[in-house]
Amino acid sequence: MVTPKLFLTTWLLLCSVLGGAVATAVADDAAQKQVRRQAEQPLNNAPVWRAVRYGAEHSTQATGREAGVLIQSAGETWRQIRNGPITLYGGLLLILVPISIGLFYQWKGPLKLNGHPTGRLVQRFSYWERLIHWSVAITFVILAVTGILMLFGRYVLIPLIGHGGFAWFAQISKNVHNLVGPLFIAAVACMFVMFVRDNVWHSIDWQWLKKAPQVLSGKTHVPSGKYNAAEKGWFWGGVALLGLVVGISGLILDFPNFEQTRATMQVAHVVHGVGALIFVAASLGHIYMGTIGTEGAYAGMRTGYVDETWAKEHHELWFKEVNS
């Protein structure tokens, strides 16, 4: 009888033997080419240089990850992507989004209640929901600030406070970012479990989405459940999707203890940078709507209670459900 463990061990052994055989065959092939080349054209080492150029791992007495690799070209690609588009477009995004939000606020002002507050309060968020929300929010802000420092500090802060001053900040930033990251992932996981039930997409959300411009400027009203389409979008696209993307790529970078190669970390870094910049830009919209953008929204998450009028005007279906 074959136990699963024995099967797995056999399978892994088989894979490694086959993999080793393939690698040896490829290496043998390169070596054979070099032997033939030496015979035909002595001192022509082209096959050797070709093998080196492809970043293959060769033998070395040195210990350490990828010590047998002479040249890895992907580092230059990573540098171009990081110092190029990520820094440029990421920087533009972080400048343009707050400006647009500011202009929108100047133009439309906050979403105010149409009716008068009744003074009767409804509970919108429990103690645990608020605890989790603020855990995610605080860790997110810490990660955003420290992450932004790592990417843009060299261009923005070094001219202001000098190399020594910035290195001090950056050292703290790096350590804080690496320690808070896993806490953020844990908080996001709790948030997903706790908030997913009310974020299931319903047909009514499509109507809200179709009339989003009018809804956001307060011209029309589409009833919604506990969360409207925009909030659900933030939940699925932001918290769930970007949270997963940034979380996994972050863990790969945070724990280089598992012999992951430079190629893995370069990819993880690009994914992490792009994901995080979009996440931060999008969060500004959420923060705006949750604070100065909507009258009464901040108090809801702060105290857990909203006025009945607020509940009726913003989340009519949820209000009916709570009241029934």
Binding site: Q34, A62, T63, G64, G75, N83, N257, M265
Partner: protein, 217 residues
């Protein structure tokens, strides 16, 4: 002004690892940190085996320098790429970017030159790499400089020890023009094999170099 470069001649390197040992000993580099290493291609394949000694190549357009978030790298008048460990935060970006695998990160305080590492799980200490035996930003020959960066031979008018004591003179270190002349002489006598490993990556295409040696293929 000299432009310092390393050159390794694949026809001469015999994988004796003396350059590695000389480096470790001269700078009292702790265990686990490889400022220089020897890599053998087609190891044990008769007629195809080639060895190469590699360390920081002190690139013209150094990728480490470009990606460092705290801008801790600087270039000396001789073209040597050095870094300031007091600024380094151990993020590892230079290690992602470097083509030659030069940046090293001590895993613990005990194995960090100058005792500058963090002992937390997974945290990288201050980066350490080949200095072309040119020390660091501290005063030349000072104790502080030695404990963090190793010996400053260049300030004493000496060249890197790895190259100085290479018995087959496969590894050369010094002014790029002089190295190129020596190598050209060798190639002329051999009649073939003008590739200089790593020069294209480190110092740009032949047209951009201040010498006539050809780049690797």
């Amino acid at each position: 002004m000299a432009r310092m470069k390393f050159l390794c001649d694949a026809e001469r390197c015999i994988e004796c690892n003396a350059c590695v040992t000389a480096c470790k000993n001269e700078h009292e580099v702790p265990w686990g940190i490889n400022r220089r290493r020897v890599v053998t291609i087609n190891d044990g394949q008769v007629g195809a085996e080639k060895s190469m000694s590699v360390a920081c190549m002190h690139c013209s357009d150094a990728p480490c320098m470009a990606v460092c978030p705290v801008d801790c790298f600087y270039k000396t008048e001789d073209g040597v790429v050095l870094h300031d460990k007091d600024l380094c935060i151990g993020c590892g970006y230079c290690f992602y970017a470097c083509p030659f695998g030069a940046p090293q990160f001590p895993a613990s305080n005990a194995s960090a030159p100058g005792g500058q590492a963090t002992d937390w799980f997974g945290a990288r200490g201050k980066m350490d790499k080949c200095t072309f035996c040119a020390g660091g930003p501290e005063e030349n020959g000072s104790e502080a400089e030695f404990s963090k960066y190793g010996r400053n031979r260049l300030s004493e008018g000496k060249l890197p020890l790895c190259a100085e004591m290479c018995s087959t003179k496969a590894l050369l270190g010094g002014d790029g023009d002089v190295l190129a002349d020596i190598y050209r002489e060798r190639v002329t006598v051999r009649g073939k094999g003008a590739e200089v490993w790593g020069w294209g990556t480190a110092y740009g295409k032949p047209g951009q170099q201040s010498d006539t040696a050809t780049s690797d293929k």
